[in-house]
Symmetry: C2
Subunit: 157 residues, 2 copies
DNA sequence: TTAATGTAGGACTGATTCGGTCTGATTTGA
DNA sequence: TCAAATCAGACCGAATCAGTCCTACATTAA
Protein backbone atom coordinates (compact mmCIF):
# COMPACT_ATOMS: atom_id res chain seq x y z
CA UNK A 1 0.00 0.00 0.00
CA UNK A 2 0.75 3.62 0.08
CA UNK A 3 1.90 3.62 -3.45
CA UNK A 4 1.11 5.48 -6.59
CA UNK A 5 -0.98 3.85 -9.26
CA UNK A 6 0.63 2.86 -12.51
CA UNK A 7 -1.33 5.61 -14.15
CA UNK A 8 0.37 8.15 -11.96
CA UNK A 9 3.69 6.57 -12.82
CA UNK A 10 2.92 6.79 -16.50
CA UNK A 11 1.80 10.36 -16.09
CA UNK A 12 5.02 11.34 -14.38
CA UNK A 13 7.09 9.59 -17.03
CA UNK A 14 5.18 11.39 -19.77
CA UNK A 15 5.47 14.72 -18.02
CA UNK A 16 9.15 14.22 -17.62
CA UNK A 17 9.45 13.48 -21.31
CA UNK A 18 7.45 16.55 -22.24
CA UNK A 19 9.67 18.57 -19.96
CA UNK A 20 12.77 17.46 -21.81
CA UNK A 21 11.33 18.60 -25.13
CA UNK A 22 9.69 21.73 -23.74
CA UNK A 23 8.46 23.99 -25.24
CA UNK A 24 7.96 21.64 -28.12
CA UNK A 25 5.27 19.00 -28.17
CA UNK A 26 5.15 15.23 -28.48
CA UNK A 27 2.32 12.94 -29.46
CA UNK A 28 0.92 10.29 -27.19
CA UNK A 29 2.19 7.69 -29.60
CA UNK A 30 5.70 9.08 -29.52
CA UNK A 31 5.77 8.79 -25.76
CA UNK A 32 4.14 5.40 -25.51
CA UNK A 33 6.49 3.99 -28.13
CA UNK A 34 9.50 5.47 -26.47
CA UNK A 35 8.83 4.04 -23.03
CA UNK A 36 6.83 0.97 -23.98
CA UNK A 37 3.66 2.19 -22.31
CA UNK A 38 0.21 1.05 -23.47
CA UNK A 39 -0.90 3.76 -25.86
CA UNK A 40 -4.63 4.02 -25.07
CA UNK A 41 -3.96 4.21 -21.38
CA UNK A 42 -1.38 6.90 -21.82
CA UNK A 43 -3.71 8.84 -24.10
CA UNK A 44 -6.36 8.95 -21.41
CA UNK A 45 -3.86 10.07 -18.84
CA UNK A 46 -2.69 12.88 -21.05
CA UNK A 47 -6.28 13.96 -21.62
CA UNK A 48 -6.75 14.08 -17.90
CA UNK A 49 -3.71 16.29 -17.56
CA UNK A 50 -5.07 18.58 -20.24
CA UNK A 51 -8.27 18.99 -18.26
CA UNK A 52 -6.17 19.64 -15.21
CA UNK A 53 -4.50 22.51 -17.00
CA UNK A 54 -0.98 21.13 -17.04
CA UNK A 55 -0.86 20.23 -20.72
CA UNK A 56 -2.08 21.84 -23.91
CA UNK A 57 -3.20 19.61 -26.76
CA UNK A 58 -2.68 20.24 -30.46
CA UNK A 59 -5.07 18.39 -32.71
CA UNK A 60 -4.48 17.06 -36.17
CA UNK A 61 -1.45 15.83 -37.96
CA UNK A 62 1.81 16.73 -36.25
CA UNK A 63 -0.23 17.44 -33.19
CA UNK A 64 0.55 16.32 -29.70
CA UNK A 65 0.83 17.58 -26.14
CA UNK A 66 3.07 20.15 -24.57
CA UNK A 67 3.43 21.68 -21.17
CA UNK A 68 1.07 24.57 -20.63
CA UNK A 69 3.46 26.19 -18.16
CA UNK A 70 7.12 26.15 -17.37
CA UNK A 71 8.53 22.91 -15.95
CA UNK A 72 9.35 24.58 -12.68
CA UNK A 73 5.72 25.57 -12.21
CA UNK A 74 4.34 22.04 -12.22
CA UNK A 75 4.93 19.72 -9.31
CA UNK A 76 4.70 15.99 -8.85
CA UNK A 77 1.84 16.66 -6.47
CA UNK A 78 -0.10 18.38 -9.25
CA UNK A 79 0.28 15.39 -11.51
CA UNK A 80 -0.45 12.73 -8.96
CA UNK A 81 -3.52 14.46 -7.62
CA UNK A 82 -4.78 15.15 -11.09
CA UNK A 83 -4.52 11.49 -12.09
CA UNK A 84 -5.15 9.61 -8.88
CA UNK A 85 -7.50 12.07 -7.29
CA UNK A 86 -7.18 13.68 -3.90
CA UNK A 87 -4.52 12.28 -1.65
CA UNK A 88 -5.66 11.26 1.79
CA UNK A 89 -3.48 9.47 4.24
CA UNK A 90 -6.51 8.04 6.00
CA UNK A 91 -10.19 7.78 5.28
CA UNK A 92 -10.73 10.47 7.91
CA UNK A 93 -9.48 13.12 5.54
CA UNK A 94 -12.48 13.36 3.25
CA UNK A 95 -13.71 16.61 1.89
CA UNK A 96 -16.62 16.52 4.30
CA UNK A 97 -14.20 15.91 7.07
CA UNK A 98 -16.66 13.72 8.87
CA UNK A 99 -15.44 10.40 10.10
CA UNK A 100 -17.79 8.25 12.07
CA UNK A 101 -15.11 7.64 14.66
CA UNK A 102 -14.10 11.23 14.64
CA UNK A 103 -14.98 11.90 18.22
CA UNK A 104 -13.00 9.04 19.62
CA UNK A 105 -10.28 8.07 17.24
CA UNK A 106 -7.88 10.91 17.93
CA UNK A 107 -5.17 9.62 15.71
CA UNK A 108 -6.39 12.14 13.21
CA UNK A 109 -4.21 15.04 14.20
CA UNK A 110 -0.88 13.20 14.32
CA UNK A 111 -1.59 11.59 10.99
CA UNK A 112 -2.52 14.92 9.55
CA UNK A 113 0.99 16.12 10.22
CA UNK A 114 2.42 13.16 8.35
CA UNK A 115 -0.10 13.74 5.61
CA UNK A 116 0.96 17.34 5.21
CA UNK A 117 4.55 16.26 5.19
CA UNK A 118 3.96 13.86 2.32
CA UNK A 119 2.16 16.49 0.31
CA UNK A 120 4.99 18.85 1.03
CA UNK A 121 7.49 16.39 -0.35
CA UNK A 122 5.50 15.91 -3.54
CA UNK A 123 4.95 19.61 -3.86
CA UNK A 124 8.65 20.38 -3.78
CA UNK A 125 9.39 18.10 -6.68
CA UNK A 126 8.89 20.12 -9.82
CA UNK A 127 8.98 18.77 -13.33
CA UNK A 128 12.20 20.65 -13.86
CA UNK A 129 13.75 18.78 -10.98
CA UNK A 130 12.27 15.50 -12.11
CA UNK A 131 13.84 15.93 -15.52
CA UNK A 132 17.24 16.94 -14.29
CA UNK A 133 19.43 14.01 -13.57
CA UNK A 134 21.62 16.14 -11.44
CA UNK A 135 20.92 15.34 -7.88
CA UNK A 136 21.09 17.95 -5.17
CA UNK A 137 18.59 15.79 -3.38
CA UNK A 138 19.34 17.22 -0.03
CA UNK A 139 17.17 20.22 -0.66
CA UNK A 140 14.18 17.97 -0.85
CA UNK A 141 14.35 16.21 2.45
CA UNK A 142 13.65 17.81 5.78
CA UNK A 143 16.76 18.13 7.83
CA UNK A 144 17.31 15.13 9.97
CA UNK A 145 15.67 12.65 7.67
CA UNK A 146 18.55 12.11 5.36
CA UNK A 147 21.20 10.53 7.46
CA UNK A 148 19.07 8.12 9.39
CA UNK A 149 20.68 4.72 8.80
CA UNK A 150 17.48 2.75 9.03
CA UNK A 151 16.00 4.43 6.02
CA UNK A 152 16.44 1.49 3.78
CA UNK A 153 14.42 2.03 0.71
CA UNK A 154 13.49 -1.48 -0.01
CA UNK A 155 11.91 -2.79 3.10
CA UNK A 156 12.10 -6.42 2.43
CA UNK A 157 10.72 -8.42 5.24
CA UNK B 1 -4.73 6.96 -3.82
CA UNK B 2 -1.67 7.10 -1.73
CA UNK B 3 -3.57 6.38 1.38
CA UNK B 4 -3.45 3.91 4.17
CA UNK B 5 -5.91 1.07 4.21
CA UNK B 6 -8.64 1.01 6.81
CA UNK B 7 -6.86 -1.89 8.40
CA UNK B 8 -3.82 0.28 8.96
CA UNK B 9 -6.06 2.96 10.38
CA UNK B 10 -7.66 0.48 12.74
CA UNK B 11 -4.28 -0.83 13.71
CA UNK B 12 -3.01 2.61 14.56
CA UNK B 13 -6.13 3.38 16.58
CA UNK B 14 -5.75 0.13 18.49
CA UNK B 15 -2.05 0.70 19.07
CA UNK B 16 -2.78 4.14 20.33
CA UNK B 17 -5.33 2.74 22.74
CA UNK B 18 -2.93 0.10 23.97
CA UNK B 19 -0.35 2.80 24.46
CA UNK B 20 -2.66 4.75 26.72
CA UNK B 21 -3.18 1.73 28.97
CA UNK B 22 0.39 0.51 28.75
CA UNK B 23 1.73 -1.62 30.35
CA UNK B 24 -1.69 -3.08 30.99
CA UNK B 25 -3.59 -5.01 28.35
CA UNK B 26 -6.93 -4.68 26.63
CA UNK B 27 -8.99 -7.23 24.76
CA UNK B 28 -9.90 -6.91 21.13
CA UNK B 29 -13.50 -6.57 22.17
CA UNK B 30 -12.74 -3.71 24.53
CA UNK B 31 -11.08 -1.82 21.74
CA UNK B 32 -13.61 -2.58 19.05
CA UNK B 33 -16.47 -1.60 21.34
CA UNK B 34 -14.78 1.59 22.37
CA UNK B 35 -14.12 2.86 18.87
CA UNK B 36 -16.94 1.15 17.02
CA UNK B 37 -14.62 -0.97 14.90
CA UNK B 38 -15.70 -4.35 13.46
CA UNK B 39 -14.47 -6.85 15.99
CA UNK B 40 -13.33 -9.72 13.74
CA UNK B 41 -11.39 -7.37 11.52
CA UNK B 42 -9.68 -5.79 14.47
CA UNK B 43 -8.87 -9.23 15.88
CA UNK B 44 -7.07 -10.15 12.71
CA UNK B 45 -5.13 -6.95 12.73
CA UNK B 46 -4.04 -7.48 16.31
CA UNK B 47 -2.95 -11.02 15.48
CA UNK B 48 -0.87 -9.62 12.68
CA UNK B 49 0.77 -7.19 15.05
CA UNK B 50 1.52 -10.04 17.44
CA UNK B 51 3.30 -11.88 14.66
CA UNK B 52 5.13 -8.67 13.87
CA UNK B 53 6.42 -8.55 17.41
CA UNK B 54 4.75 -5.32 18.47
CA UNK B 55 2.08 -6.86 20.68
CA UNK B 56 1.99 -9.71 23.14
CA UNK B 57 -1.20 -11.73 23.48
CA UNK B 58 -2.59 -13.18 26.68
CA UNK B 59 -4.90 -16.09 26.19
CA UNK B 60 -7.91 -17.12 28.17
CA UNK B 61 -10.29 -15.24 30.34
CA UNK B 62 -9.19 -11.71 31.18
CA UNK B 63 -6.70 -12.02 28.39
CA UNK B 64 -5.94 -9.41 25.81
CA UNK B 65 -3.15 -7.63 24.05
CA UNK B 66 -0.47 -5.34 25.32
CA UNK B 67 2.52 -3.64 23.83
CA UNK B 68 5.57 -5.82 23.76
CA UNK B 69 7.89 -2.82 23.95
CA UNK B 70 7.76 0.72 25.17
CA UNK B 71 5.54 3.10 23.19
CA UNK B 72 8.54 5.14 22.10
CA UNK B 73 10.09 2.08 20.50
CA UNK B 74 7.26 1.43 18.06
CA UNK B 75 6.69 3.71 15.11
CA UNK B 76 3.80 4.30 12.78
CA UNK B 77 5.97 2.89 10.03
CA UNK B 78 6.29 -0.38 11.93
CA UNK B 79 2.55 -0.71 12.23
CA UNK B 80 1.70 0.30 8.69
CA UNK B 81 4.28 -1.96 7.12
CA UNK B 82 3.26 -4.82 9.34
CA UNK B 83 -0.38 -4.53 8.33
CA UNK B 84 -0.25 -3.25 4.79
CA UNK B 85 2.99 -4.83 3.73
CA UNK B 86 6.03 -3.14 2.28
CA UNK B 87 5.58 0.45 1.24
CA UNK B 88 6.53 1.31 -2.29
CA UNK B 89 5.91 4.65 -3.86
CA UNK B 90 5.95 3.18 -7.35
CA UNK B 91 5.87 -0.25 -8.86
CA UNK B 92 9.54 0.22 -9.71
CA UNK B 93 10.48 -0.33 -6.10
CA UNK B 94 9.97 -4.04 -5.91
CA UNK B 95 12.25 -6.35 -4.03
CA UNK B 96 13.79 -7.55 -7.26
CA UNK B 97 14.34 -4.00 -8.26
CA UNK B 98 13.70 -4.79 -11.85
CA UNK B 99 11.29 -2.62 -13.72
CA UNK B 100 10.72 -3.30 -17.36
CA UNK B 101 11.10 0.38 -18.15
CA UNK B 102 14.03 0.68 -15.87
CA UNK B 103 16.49 1.65 -18.53
CA UNK B 104 14.42 4.48 -19.90
CA UNK B 105 12.05 5.72 -17.27
CA UNK B 106 14.50 7.69 -15.20
CA UNK B 107 11.90 9.02 -12.84
CA UNK B 108 13.01 6.35 -10.49
CA UNK B 109 15.69 8.23 -8.66
CA UNK B 110 13.72 11.40 -7.97
CA UNK B 111 10.79 9.36 -6.71
CA UNK B 112 13.10 7.37 -4.56
CA UNK B 113 13.97 10.52 -2.68
CA UNK B 114 10.31 11.25 -2.05
CA UNK B 115 9.83 7.67 -1.01
CA UNK B 116 12.61 7.93 1.53
CA UNK B 117 11.08 11.08 2.86
CA UNK B 118 7.70 9.47 3.39
CA UNK B 119 9.20 6.55 5.23
CA UNK B 120 11.19 8.96 7.31
CA UNK B 121 8.03 10.77 8.31
CA UNK B 122 6.32 7.58 9.36
CA UNK B 123 9.40 6.38 11.15
CA UNK B 124 9.59 9.46 13.30
CA UNK B 125 6.06 9.04 14.58
CA UNK B 126 6.24 6.77 17.59
CA UNK B 127 3.29 5.38 19.45
CA UNK B 128 4.19 7.65 22.33
CA UNK B 129 3.78 10.65 20.08
CA UNK B 130 0.62 9.30 18.55
CA UNK B 131 -0.92 8.98 21.99
CA UNK B 132 0.35 12.22 23.41
CA UNK B 133 -1.79 14.63 21.46
CA UNK B 134 -4.29 16.36 23.62
CA UNK B 135 -6.88 13.85 24.59
CA UNK B 136 -8.74 13.00 27.77
CA UNK B 137 -7.27 9.52 27.72
CA UNK B 138 -3.78 10.88 28.06
CA UNK B 139 -4.41 11.36 31.74
CA UNK B 140 -4.23 7.60 31.99
CA UNK B 141 -0.61 7.62 31.02
CA UNK B 142 1.91 6.82 33.70
CA UNK B 143 4.12 9.75 34.50
CA UNK B 144 7.12 9.92 32.27
CA UNK B 145 5.71 8.16 29.30
CA UNK B 146 4.56 11.25 27.52
CA UNK B 147 7.40 12.03 25.26
CA UNK B 148 9.37 15.18 24.98
CA UNK B 149 7.89 18.37 23.57
CA UNK B 150 10.11 18.00 20.54
CA UNK B 151 7.38 16.37 18.58
CA UNK B 152 7.13 18.32 15.40
CA UNK B 153 7.78 16.12 12.44
CA UNK B 154 8.33 18.69 9.83
CA UNK B 155 11.30 20.96 9.65
CA UNK B 156 12.77 19.58 12.75
CA UNK B 157 16.17 21.05 13.37
C1' DT C 1 -11.38 17.69 -51.21
C1' DT C 2 -9.57 13.72 -49.27
C1' DA C 3 -6.74 10.93 -46.51
C1' DA C 4 -3.79 10.66 -42.68
C1' DT C 5 -2.77 11.85 -38.18
C1' DG C 6 -3.93 12.68 -33.70
C1' DT C 7 -7.00 13.93 -29.74
C1' DA C 8 -11.56 13.06 -26.99
C1' DG C 9 -14.29 10.03 -24.55
C1' DG C 10 -17.37 6.22 -23.36
C1' DA C 11 -18.24 1.13 -22.65
C1' DC C 12 -16.45 -3.01 -21.37
C1' DT C 13 -13.50 -6.89 -19.39
C1' DG C 14 -10.30 -9.47 -16.38
C1' DA C 15 -7.52 -9.36 -12.36
C1' DT C 16 -6.57 -7.88 -8.00
C1' DT C 17 -7.39 -6.07 -3.59
C1' DC C 18 -10.13 -4.51 0.31
C1' DG C 19 -13.35 -4.77 3.91
C1' DG C 20 -15.88 -7.70 6.21
C1' DT C 21 -18.47 -12.19 7.71
C1' DC C 22 -18.50 -16.76 9.20
C1' DT C 23 -16.89 -20.91 11.32
C1' DG C 24 -14.16 -23.53 14.16
C1' DA C 25 -9.99 -24.68 17.18
C1' DT C 26 -7.17 -23.61 21.15
C1' DT C 27 -5.91 -21.75 25.54
C1' DT C 28 -6.76 -19.98 30.08
C1' DG C 29 -9.12 -18.59 34.47
C1' DA C 30 -12.96 -19.17 37.58
C1' DT D 1 -16.09 -28.39 33.58
C1' DC D 2 -17.52 -24.09 31.50
C1' DA D 3 -17.15 -19.62 29.78
C1' DA D 4 -14.20 -16.10 28.04
C1' DA D 5 -10.95 -14.84 25.01
C1' DT D 6 -7.35 -15.44 21.57
C1' DC D 7 -5.98 -17.79 17.30
C1' DA D 8 -6.56 -19.17 12.43
C1' DG D 9 -8.36 -19.96 8.16
C1' DA D 10 -11.84 -20.04 4.33
C1' DC D 11 -15.01 -17.31 1.99
C1' DC D 12 -17.71 -13.48 -0.33
C1' DG D 13 -19.35 -8.94 -2.24
C1' DA D 14 -17.80 -4.59 -3.61
C1' DA D 15 -14.61 -1.59 -5.29
C1' DT D 16 -10.69 -0.41 -7.84
C1' DC D 17 -7.04 -0.96 -11.36
C1' DA D 18 -5.06 -1.78 -15.75
C1' DG D 19 -6.02 -2.36 -20.08
C1' DT D 20 -8.73 -3.04 -24.64
C1' DC D 21 -12.02 -1.76 -27.99
C1' DC D 22 -14.77 1.29 -30.53
C1' DT D 23 -16.46 5.66 -32.22
C1' DA D 24 -16.45 10.61 -32.91
C1' DC D 25 -14.13 14.98 -33.67
C1' DA D 26 -10.33 18.26 -35.16
C1' DT D 27 -6.40 19.61 -37.85
C1' DT D 28 -2.94 19.24 -41.31
C1' DA D 29 -0.70 17.67 -45.58
C1' DA D 30 -1.04 16.12 -50.09
Amino acid sequence: MLKLTKKADYGLIAMRHLTTVYPRSASAKDISDHYGLPAPVLAKILQTLVRGGFLASEHGANGGYRLSRGPEQITAFDIVRSIDGPIFLTACFTEDGDCEHHKKCSIRDPLRRIHEGIIGLLNKMTMAELASDADPASSLLPIGLISSPNLTILNRQ
